[in-house]
Structure formats: C-alpha cells, structure tokens
C-alpha cells in the first residue's frame, strides 16, 4: 500500500488550477489601510531633507513616516539595515518614507508627492570598485554594527562584510604536482527572483498588544522571532499567518516588508495595513540575487587528476548584507564542485556596493561556484586534450577513496551519493562521450556542454522542524507542519511519507496548507531544499508517536501485548490474526466499551527534528561540517548555433540527480525542470542593467526577460537512488538543484559552438558577436 514513489497529484492542485486558491494578496478586509513607499532616486547619498507636507495634504492620508519614527537595525547576519533609510541612502530604490492611506491610490499619490533632497556621494558599483584602496564606504560604521551570528567577520573601515577562507592541503605541493594549469575569470550579474506573486504583507496590532501578521513568506516563524527581537516585543504576542505562496525562490526567506508594515500599523494606532509590492518594487526595492566576480586557477596532472585549486570570489552583496555572507561562505566551502581536490585555497569576500541588496536565491550561491569551476574544467579539458566527460568522471568525488570536501568532511556513500552513476546515465539522454560539436548544415552547428552539480544546505547548526498528527472521527489523519507550501509540492510529499508509515491511503491524510505560528510547530525556514528531509523526519517521528499510542490502546482492547499488533488500512490488528482488529475511527477519539465506559482519550502524535552534527567553520581553514548530505548530479545542454548571425536555440537540456529516494516522481521532475528553466533564463537573458544614476534600467517585465513558454528546450530528468541514511526513506534535498549547473552547461556548449570563451552570463547573440568580432562592423 506504499504511497512512496507514486505520482500522487498535489493536494492543492485543483484549487490552484481553478484559481480558487487565495494567496495572501487576494485577501482584503474591511477597514484595511494601504501603505506605499517613497523610494530613493539616489544610489548613494546623504538625505538632506524630506518634505512630507504635500503628502499630508492628499485626501485619505493617515500617516507619513520616515526612518527616524522607529529607528531599528535589522539583518539576519549583520544588523546593518534600517527598514526605512536613516540619514543616508545606499541604493537606488531604497525606502525613504512611507505613507499610510485609506486607499492604495491615495497612498501612492501621496508617496509620489514627497520631495527628498540628497547630497550624492560617489557610488560603489561593483565588487572590484568596492575593493579599490580609498573606495567610498557604503557603511562608515561597519565596525559598530551588532552581529546576529558569531561566525561573520566584517572589516571596519572597508566594504568587506565578510571574509571566508578555505585552506586545505599544501598548495605548494599541489602546484608542483601539476603538469597543466589553467585560469579563468568569471562574472555573473545581480538579478531578480521574479516570483509570480510579488511580496506582500498585512499587519495589525490589537489594543492588547497582539500583533497579527499575514505574509507571503517562506519563514512565518522567522517573522515572529525577528519582529520580537527587532521591536522588543513578546514573541507570544506575535501571530503570523501564511497561506500558500505564489513563488518564492529564496526571495521570501528574509523578513523584509514585514518591518515596514509593522511600523506603518504602529503609526496608525495599530489598524490593519497592507503593503504589497508592485513588480517594479519587487525588483528594485526588495532584495535580489547576489552578483559575482571570480578568479579560478586549477591544475592537474598530465592524465587529468586535479591537484590544486585556487578560488577567489568577490560577491556583490549590494547595499546591505542580509544572507550574502552565508552565500559567500557556501561558495567557499563547496567551490570544488563534486570533485576530489587535495589542495584547495579559497578567499571569498562578501562586499558592500551601492547596488540593490541581496538575499537568498534558489541555489544559495552554489550556482556561482558551479559556473566558475565547470567553465574552468572545460578549459582544462582543452588544455589536456581530454574529453570533458572523461575529466569529470575521473575526478568525481566518491566514497571509499579517502576523498574529502573542501571543508575536510569525509565523503561517504550516505552523505554524497553516486555521481559517476549520474554521469553514465546522462550520457544516455544527451550523448556527451562523443563529438560535442557537429556542423549540421551551412551556418548551423549543434554543440553540447555539461556541468556537474552538488549542494548541501547551509542552514543553522540547530535548525529544527516539527510535526503534529491529530485524527478525525472517521479515522483519517490531519497533519500539521510548519513547512510552507511554496510550490514544490512538499506537503503532498509529507502526506505520502505519513501514509506509507501508517500503511494507509494517502487520501486519508489531510495536510494543513496555511501555516499559523500559533498552532503550527516551528519549522526553521522553508529553504535550503531541506523541507522534505527535515519535516519528513519530524513526520516519521510523529507517526511513531501516534502508532505507539494506537498500539497501546489496541493492546487493551484486543488483550494482547502491543508488540503483537500491526497497523494498516486504518486499523490496528493482531499480527497472528488480522481479522482481530479495531478500526481507527473507533479509538482515535477514545475507545468506548459496550457498557459506555471509555478509555484512551484522543490520540495526538508529535514529532520533532533537529539538524545534527553540524559545526560552524573554522575561521582560518574553513574546516567543519556545514550541511548534512549533499545531493549530486549532472546536467547537460544541447544548443543549435547560427554561425552567421550568432543567435542560438536551446534544443535539449537534461539532468540526472541522485536524490536518495524518489518520493513523488512527477513532482520531483517538475521541480527539477523548473530549476532548469530558471537556470537557462539566467544563462541566456536575466541580469540587471544599471543607468548612470545607479538605478536598474530593466526593472519591469517589459525589459527584464525570463524564459517564456515556447522558448524552452526539450527537458529530460532522471534520478538515481543512493539513500542518505539520515533522510526520510533515504531521501535527499532536490528543490533548488535543477538551477545549479544550467548556466555553466549552456556556457560550455556555446563556448564549444562559437569558439570564443564565454565566461559571463547572460549569453546572447550580441555578446558572442562582440567576442568574435571585437564589436566592430
């Protein structure tokens, strides 16, 4: 009867496809006030004056608020960001003042009328500029900021928010063993998440001090903790409600608009306010994806064994650090990719610039290091005159060979899976051990490129999850978890896990879709591809708890020892005689004997999970265990390139990943394909372009292009199953991974097709033309 491995349709599917689902922004209550922001038109400058008089004169305006009204500093790593700018602005689009009004258009009209004068300061527009001696400082008081965690090392008097190091092995020895050394420099621009549902939140503060927040978020519990800390509130007074989320991709992991909405509600005596981003605000004001500049030096023996790797990452955090230091650290600790390299030296600098600030983005930095390493591997393959396929196979990180990660974690079958198997498998989908460039017609070339991927989580070392199971009178189960359904189908997967464990049909499992911090157990954050693993373990533990109670009660009714009982099909029965049973419906709310007297009470299963055995990384060497099991895989792209006009088409794209255990095949494939599509978008078209004033030029969907339906290649996704011993049923994370290697595989295919080294994304026909011709006609 197992539900594991079945294509169970998502439990929320019908509501979603019929449009019946209510997302957070769909809900408007009577009396709701609206908040709009006046944002900076200066990327770096001192705020000289803010004239709010005209805003107060707009009918319907209830409050006009500037940063000094409730000055607080926020940040999940470094507390460097006021939710509304104070004294100074650090990026174009930063909130400088807010208006609360009866209607949205009145609030907007008033916000538009606020006059702000700036004394512009010189801008820092790139990591390179941030590091120049005497560069303008984005944060003059960096040394005075409070840190939210211990292992971050901002350097006062500089633009360096953090510096992560890896020192593994002996570099001199490593380089001396190399016959061939190649180098590369890479750049990836900042870009946006482009979730369909823009960020939005409602907040009200009741007279008794209770704060009600409704948000489109990946971390309802994080909102509760953070608002309590930042505004010195009692955590128990904050109640966060979070319905289904219309796309997040990391962009809804941080607390962002909630700060402003809380301040706005305070300013109007606690009345309920709504703050909903326009698309333009979601791109230019709320946090974005990090940018990256990197230098890589990689050496190998004549027969292609990697010996030494030097990585330098310069991460463009933007105006505020948010989670960017953690992503820089992730790059450092995973920068080898899934390859064994004995000697690794890495400096990852997380830098402040006057670009929009960054936060988590699908892949959490792993796409950046993957692009750099995989492009360099292709250069090495050329230098060695070896096939890129063989080079990767030869160096694939594997258990039992004494391999360790860059942070010196021992590689085991359980924590890493089987990369070689993935590589052989993808070759059946897109031929990679053959000629990778074929001229198929006049002006037409078919070319293929590949990239291996790996990722583990970079979660807190004490990240927790929990699950509660309660029963209905008909014997069906209600599952309550703190994980958010952000589109991955996680809640259906958890229902499958519970159905399997209870040995019953998955339609007998009801999962609570919204999360409410008052009643849902805490789940750290719905991030890091860890929801199925963490919440899955909590669900299994809750099921064990419920099963124990059912058997205990069953043993009284059936008059046997609990050890003689089994459960299945909504019954508890005697193993020796399955016809001797009690149905759940007759016992989960207590068992009533014939005479009327009853025992047992209602059955409530509870389960918890905490990340185990993780450590913070050593400051000098990076040694430590950052995440649980890796998920490894390989991706490939086939392009058709027009040698005359330098345009190209995406023909095929494939992914093979070792996900430990397939819980729901179709959902898993869908999630991976979605990631591949985003990755191809980043590889081919996405990225911010800035005007001379530091503002984003492509801040709307007219000009910021994402992959459209019809532009996608033929997607192929297959899985390998090498169990992670600590995952539920052996399952590994897979939510983000589809994105990781796509920019690299695309760039590798196009480099092969065009004959020019494509070491930056996005890659369009003009870039290829420029590199091939120097940009002259």
């Amino acid at each position: 009867m197992t539900a594991i491995g079945k294509d169970v349709p998502r439990k929320e599917a019908l509501d979603k496809v019929t449009g019946a689902v209510k997302y957070n922004d769909d809900i408007n209550e009577p009396g709701l006030l609206h908040v709009k922001m006046a944002t900076s038109t200066c990327a770096h400058g001192i705020i000289k004056s803010i004239d709010v008089l005209s805003a107060w004169n707009v009918p319907g305006v209830r409050a006009v608020v500037t940063g000094d009204y409730l000055p607080v500093m926020t940040g999940s790593v470094i507390k460097d960001r006021p939710p509304i700018a104070i004294n100074k602005v650090r990026y174009y689009g930063e909130p400088v003042a807010i208006v609360v009004a009866d209607t949205e258009h009145e609030a907007q009209k008033a916000a538009n009328s606020i006059k702000i004068e700036y004394s512009p300061l010189p801008m820092v527009k790139s990591p390179k500029e941030a590091l120049v001696k005497g560069a303008p400082l984005v944060h003059e008081k960096l040394g005075e900021y409070k840190k939210a965690i211990d292992d971050v090392y901002p350097a006062a008097g500089t633009n360096v928010a953090d510096h992560s190091k890896i020192r593994k092995g002996d570099m001199d020895k490593g380089w001396s063993e190399c016959d061939v050394i190649v180098e590369g420099e890479y750049t990836m621009p900042k870009s946006d998440h482009i979730a369909m549902e823009t960020r939005n939140v409602r907040v009200k503060i009741d007279p008794d001090g209770k704060v009600y927040v409704s948000s489109s978020t990946q971390c309802p519990h994080g909102i509760k903790d953070t608002l309590a800390t930042v505004f010195s509130l009692n955590e128990g007074d904050i109640i966060v409600n979070a319905p289904l989320v219309g796309g997040a991709f990391g962009g809804k992991a941080p607390v962002n608009l909630e700060f402003i909405a809380y301040i706005a509600s305070r300013a109007v005596g606690g009345r309920q306010v709504k703050l909903a981003n326009t698309r333009e605000e979601d791109i230019a004001t709320s946090p974005t994806k990090i940018g990256l500049e990197a230098k890589v030096k990689l050496g190998a023996t004549r027969d292609g064994i990697l010996k030494a790797l030097e990585l330098k990452y310069f991460v463009d955090a933007g105006a505020y650090s948010d989670t960017a230091p953690r992503m820089a650290k992730t790059m450092a600790s995973n920068g080898t990719g899934p390859y064994n390299v004995e000697n690794v030296f890495c400096d990852a600098l997380c830098l402040y610039t006057n670009n929009p600030y960054s936060t988590s983005f699908r892949g959490f930095g792993n796409m950046g290091h993957t692009f750099c390493m995989e492009r360099t591997l292709d250069k090495l393959a050329v230098a060695l005159n070896m096939s890129p396929f063989d080079l990767r196979l030869k160096n694939a990180i594997s258990p039992g060979k004494g391999h360790t990660s860059a942070t010196q974690v021992k590689i085991t079958k359980s924590n890493t899976g089987d990369l070689a198997k993935c590589i052989y498998k993808i070759n059946e989908l897109i031929k990679l051990d053959d000629d990778l460039r074929v001229e198929v017609a006049k002006d037409k070339v078919i070319a293929r490129g590949m990239s291996c991927i790996w990722k583990t989580s970079a979660s807190n070392t004490d990240a927790i999850s929990g699950a509660i199971i309660v029963f209905n009178k008909d014997g069906s189960l209600n599952l309550i978890v703190g994980v958010m359904e952000i589109g991955s189908g996680v809640k259906t997967g958890l229902a499958q896990i519970l159905a399997d464990k209870m040995n019953m049909e998955v339609d007998q499992i009801h999962v609570q879709m919204p999360v409410n911090t008052e009643s849902s157990p805490k789940h750290w954050k719905t991030v890091a591809s860890m929801s199925t693993v963490m919440a899955g373990r909590a669900v299994l533990s809750a099921a064990d708890d419920a099963i124990r109670q059912i058997k205990d009660l069953g043993s009284i009714v059936l008059r046997v020892d609990p050890s003689q009982l089994e459960i299945g099909g909504g019954k508890v029965y005697m193993r020796s005689d399955p016809d001797n049973y009690v149905e759940f419906k007759d016992m989960v709310h207590g068992f009533k004997f014939r005479g009327g007297n009853s025992i047992g009470g209602q059955i409530i299963g509870k389960g918890t999970y905490i990340m185990e055995n993780l450590t913070i990384l050593d400051r000098e060497t990076g040694k430590g265990r950052m995440g649980p099991a890796w998920t490894v895989g390989v991706q490939a792209v086939e392009v058709e390139y027009n040698t005359k006009d330098h345009t190209y088409k995406l023909v095929k794209a494939a992914t093979v990943m070792d996900i430990g255990k397939i819980v729901n095949p179709k959902t898993a494939k869908g999630v991976v394909m979605g990631g591949m599509s985003m990755g191809l978008g980043l590889g081919s078209r996405e990225g911010f372009l800035y005007g001379s004033n530091g503002g984003i030029l492509n801040d709307s969907l007219r000009t910021y292009k994402v992959m459209r339906f019809g532009e996608q290649p033929d997607y192929m996704v297959e899985f390998i199953e090498t169990p992670a011993e600590d995952g539920p049923y052996g399952a590994r994370g897979l939510g983000e991974h589809g994105i990781l290697g796509m920019p690299a595989a695309l760039a590798n295919a196009l480099t092969r097709a065009t004959g020019v080294e494509l070491d930056q994304v996005p890659i369009d026909a003009e870039l290829i033309w420029q590199l091939k011709t120097g940009g002259y006609v």
Partner: protein, 273 residues
C-alpha cells in the same frame, strides 16, 4: 493601480469626440483619446503620464470601419491588432503587427493607438508607409485626408485635439510580395533591435525600419541604394547603410554597432526577394 483620478467619456460620434476634447482641454483636464488603453494604463501606473480625462473612441463608427471599400482597404483606428491579424486582409500588416507585444496585449492594442503612442517602435507604420496609405484625421474643421508620408515623420503629426480616424490602403498593395523580419535581443516577445518590412513593387524594393533609430522610418535614399542595379549586394547594402537618416540606437536591447551588424544581415535577405 493608477495614482490619479480621471474622467471617462465614450462619445458616439466624431463630432462629439472632437468637441469633448476641446471642452476638456479648456477645463485643464489634459484629455487623451483612448483606444485599447494599454499604453495609457501602463504609463499612468508608472506615473509617466497624467490625464484628467480619457475619450474612448471605440464607439465611433468611422473609427471601427474595417474591410474593402471599392479598390481600397479601410481600417479604422479603433480596430485591434488581433482583428487585423485574424482577418488576413493585409498579410504584410498582419504579420508585422502579429509581432507587437504579446497575444493578450494584441487583443487590446488598436491600430490608431500603435501609430499614435509614445513607445518609439510603432511597427504598424512600416507596412502603411511602404504601401503609401492615406490617413483620415478629424479635427474641429471636420475631417481631412493625407498621405501617411506627409503626416508621419517618426510620429504621427497632429494638431492638439486631432484624432486619427482610419487608414486607407490601395488594395493593389495588399497582395504584393513582401518581407518581414523582427530581430530582438533574445526573446521572441520583446521590443525590436531592428524590424525591417519590405515589399517588391514594379521590381523595386520598398523598405521601412523600426528599432534602428529612435523612430520608425522609410528612407527613399536607402531604397535607391538597395535598388541600384549593377552593384553587388554588399555594395548596395553598404551604400544604403550610409543613408540611415538618424543616429543608430544604443540602449539596453543592443549597441549601435550590433544593430548595424543585424541590419546588414537582414538586408542581405531582403535583396534575395
């Protein structure tokens, strides 16, 4: 969400519309004629335009004419792009405007709106320029008719309050061999890097361009160069490109030199017509 209030009028006659425009102007309402609304709505939302009143022209019979009349094809300014595409009456126009914005928006954008709008590409003008269409315009004097080449110098020149009523195309142009190519930075749905629409009439190539400069145009000098028999294609294209009438655009869609490269490639194919 539009952050200002405005009035909405839907007149039934041309005269009513023209009078309304004048009255509303005198009241300081800064009125605008309203077709599909895609540009007014999106620019008002972005706070790029202001109007105190819109005058919807979709109820005016003359603006909604569509079909052959004698030897002419008449297309009212309030006819949507989708309607023109689906009619198949003028394939060159249909194919050109079938690549403006996306399918959903094409159902709203009107021919008059695309010609009169502020978005600089106005690709619908290209087939109308090379088919030497006539434009009917209404004003407080009644209506007047003029060749589009006289009214269009990158934008449709009108006096304040004048309204584009309809386009009149000699039906002989609707069946001639034509060429259309729209190139974009990468996406199918995007503003053009360069769009070229060309037609062959009496063995002469006629061509219009959008995206190349900050306004769409037809250039007789460029056509003369392209049609100069006895020279190689390369030389004809080189000569034509030396007559581009305005600076080549440099923007987020592409550099000037890249646009020239793209144009060069397209013109090679135009000359194979």
């Amino acid at each position: 969400m539009i952050p200002f209030d405005f009035d909405y009028y839907k007149p039934d006659t041309l005269l009513e519309a023209i009078d309304l425009f004048q009255d509303l102007s005198e009241q300081g309402k800064m009125p605008m004629y309203y077709g599909g609304g895609t540009e007014i709505i999106s620019m008002a939302r972005a706070n790029s335009i202001y109007t105190g009143a819109v005058i919807d022209i979709k109820g005016i019979p003359e603006c909604c004419e569509f079909g052959f009349s004698g030897s002419n094809l008449v297309i009212g300014s309030a006819i949507t792009l989708t309607k023109i595409v689906e009619s198949g009456l003028f394939p060159m126009l249909g194919i050109t405007i079938g690549r403006i914005a996306d399918h959903t928006i094409q159902g709203k954008i009107t021919l008059g709106g695309n010609l009169a709008g502020t978005v600089i590409y106005r690709e619908s003008v290209l087939p109308l320029l090379i088919s030497e269409s006539q434009v009917v315009i209404a004003g407080n004097y009644g209506t007047r008719q003029a060749p589009i080449s006289e009214l269009f110098d990158g934008r449709m020149r009108r006096e304040p309050g004048e309204l584009i009523v309809k386009l009149i195309i000699d039906s002989t142009y609707t069946n001639l061999p034509f060429f259309h190519r729209k190139t974009t930075k990468i996406d199918k749905i995007d503003y053009p890097l360069v769009t070229v629409v060309a037609m062959k009439k009496d063995d002469r190539i006629l061509a219009g361009f959008s995206g190349l400069c900050d306004h769409p145009f037809r250039s007789i000098e460029m056509e003369d160069s392209l049609n100069e028999k006895g020279l190689t294609r390369e030389v004809r294209i080189k000569n034509a490109m030396s007559h581009i009438p305005a600076p080549v655009q440099e923007d987020i869609h592409g550099s000037g030199n890249y646009r020239r490269f793209v144009l060069n490639n397209i013109l090679m194919d135009v000359l194979k017509m």
